[in-house]
Amino acid sequence: MAITMAQAINAALRDAMEADDRVLIFGEDVGRLGGVFRVTDGLQATFGEERCFDTPLAESGIIGTAIGLAMYGFRPVPEMQFDGFTYPAFEQIVSHLAKMPNRSRGTVKLPVTVRIPYGGGIGAVEHHSESPEAYWAHTAGLKVMTPGTPEDGYAMMREAIAMDDPVIFLEPKRRYWMKSDAELPITTQPAREAVVRREGTDVSVFCYGPMVRTALEAADAAADEGWSLEVVDLRSLSPLDTATMVASVERTGRAIVVHEAAMTLGMGAEIAARIQERAFYHLEAPVLRATGYDTPYPPAKLEEFWLPDVDRILDMVERSMSY
């Protein structure tokens, strides 16, 4: 059956609500409208307004009340409508969602899954294309996941909702319409394990979310040039599967990290550090990064010049191979 990432996530939410009546979905326009991307389509009709509801337009309010609902015993799955509008909730996420279980010595559990459509490439207006993953991955107490395929959209969402830790679930919005052939329910590896999407011998390409597909396209193009890329989909950004990354670099001797987020202090910085800490003697070249630039996200007409793409990845491959 052909299924898009948006449909896969929708099915995961539906199945999670079916399986556990403590699962609640709420946020801006998620109820009647089914979300601006329709990811929560039909859930209110099936499960009623008590379990899938529209909230007032207040992101801090959405996350803060999710914390209280979780303290009561629910498993909230709040939505932040867009990446660029998570910032009003920053304090609730960083100071409370991430910290309260620890502050309470484990007596308070916050099984909250915060859904955030993120990333660019859809020609959106300002504030609708951001990649804020480093903020969350930097914050102890949060788990951060991002699916790169429809299959993972389903399986990782189910896993996130079932977890007792708070999860920031980043949905690559430009891949919402990406299709796969799959039968529901889908099981994949646990989210904490990175997955080698394509084996290769020359360069390891570490990517996640929206860039998984881009990296696979780059691997096709690279093959024409005679370079064999290994594409590793990280899936979980916190924790990071260091072992799989290191094993890949031990095979290839070269590494490139790809992400949409700006370069400085992005995930690439952490990944490069871990690789040089653990695979130093295997490296034939410095770890390179193909990322967005250190500027604010560009206006829509310029995003193609800003976002990492096949060409930027191939440039890095060439640089890496030249060592």
Binding site: Y72, T107, V108, L240
Partner: protein, 373 residues
């Protein structure tokens, strides 16, 4: 859903704060705010206030002796806290800020446990579920949202409890209480937003905090009644809170209470209030002391005698001694606990760092003979 046909005048606060007990102990009964308290309960309210003041003083002393890093006193606010917390049933919830020692004692929360936050032993040391008393919250006003979320949970569960959240006059300027009141108003959640207007946010006086006629007027904008009460009058505070709590439990939605009070101590032990308020102002405020007027009432009613005084004094000393014993020279626990509660299911790199600390502890233990933990 909010009732938009609501008459805004019905939500307005009274011209004067509700006040039942004069400083000389004269009680003005009020049919709108029936007390329905027996003699024992009157004594109990008094006792809670005296014990609170004693433990509060003990905490200040502990800070002066280097046992607490810092402490935020509730002296002067005992009636606001004790009166409101006393109006709750056992299954109601409290979401405090960092100054609610009085409310905690009414709830029988282990006060020594609470103070570990200020000692720095751990970030809290009480189980919120044991007394339905949430962790203290230092980021101003943020707890109002947790209270609202928990109330929304109770609504979904068909559990007719009320939830009270405390914040200060400064807190009314933060965004989170506004979002919380918006949510609670729309969803008719059983939340009492209880503001202790102690006149200052650290050094900033109320008139620099708001241009609203009173804080209670803000309630109208969220579609909930704004009550105002003399927060140094434990009986009025009790009665007004009780009315709000009963309404909330009946499903009639949230309420906002502004309790007029005064912070008699510094903002915290690190603060120097002489830079922003005068001795004359303090002397004036001392005349409205919440404890003295309750004692005057008990005396007038022949409910106060030497025996009671001694018994209360005894209990206050005992609680203070218990807190002192729990805090004094309390050692930090195992540093490895730093990693214990961060995740239910910790994995990856996180484990490596735990091992790194373990190794550091081991090498400092046998390396230079230093004791750890």
């Amino acid at each position: 859903m909010a009732d938009h046909a609501i008459d805004p005048r019905s939500l307005l606060p009274p011209d004067e704060p509700v006040h039942l007990l004069d400083p000389d102990g004269t009680l003005h009964e009020d049919d709108d705010h029936p007390l329905e308290l027996d003699d024992e309960q009157l004594r109990e309210l008094y006792r809670f206030m005296v014990v609170t003041r004693k433990v509060d003083r003990e905490a200040i002393n502990l800070q002066r002796q280097g046992q607490l890093g810092v402490y935020a006193s509730c002296m002067g606010q005992e009636a606001a806290q004790v009166g409101s917390a006393y109006a709750l049933a056992e299954d109601d919830w409290i979401f405090p800020s960092y100054r609610e020692l009085g409310a905690a004692l009414v709830r029988k929360v282990d006060a020594a446990g609470l103070l570990h936050l200020y000692r720095g032993t751990w970030l809290s040391d009480h189980d919120p579920y044991a007394h339905n008393f949430a962790l203290m919250s230092i980021p101003i006003g943020t707890q109002a949202l947790h209270a609202t979320g928990l109330a929304m949970g109770a609504q979904r569960d068909g559990n007719a409890i009320a939830v009270i959240t405390y914040f200060g006059d400064g807190g009314t300027s933060e965004g989170d209480p506004h979002e919380a009141m918006t949510f609670a108003g729309v969803m008719r959640s059983p939340v009492i937003f209880f503001v202790q207007n102690n006149q200052y946010a650290i050094s900033v006086p109320l008139e620099k905090q708001t241009a609203a006629p009173t804080l209670a007027h803000k309630a109208v904008g969220y579609g909930m009644p704004g009550y105002r009460v003399d927060g140094n009058d434990v009986l009025a505070t009790y009665a007004v809170t009780k009315r709000a709590v009963e309404r909330a439990r009946r499903g009639e939605g949230p309420a906002f209470i502004e309790a007029m009070t005064y912070r008699m101590e510094a903002h915290t032990t690190s603060d120097d209030p002489s830079r922003y308020r005068t001795q004359e102002e303090l002397d004036e405020a001392a005349k409205t002391d919440p404890i003295a007027r309750m004692r005057n009432l008990l005396t007038q009613r022949d409910l106060y005698d030497e025996e009671l005084e001694q018994a209360i004094d005894e209990q206050a000393k005992e609680t203070a001694a218990y807190v002192r014993a729990g805090i004094y020279d309390a050692s930090h626990g195992d540093p490895l606990e730093l990693f214990e509660h961060v995740y239910v299911d910790p994995t990856g790199h996180f484990e490596d760092q735990r091992e790194q600390l373990r190794a550091e502890l081991a090498s400092s233990a046998d390396g230079d003979g230093e004791e750890v933990a």
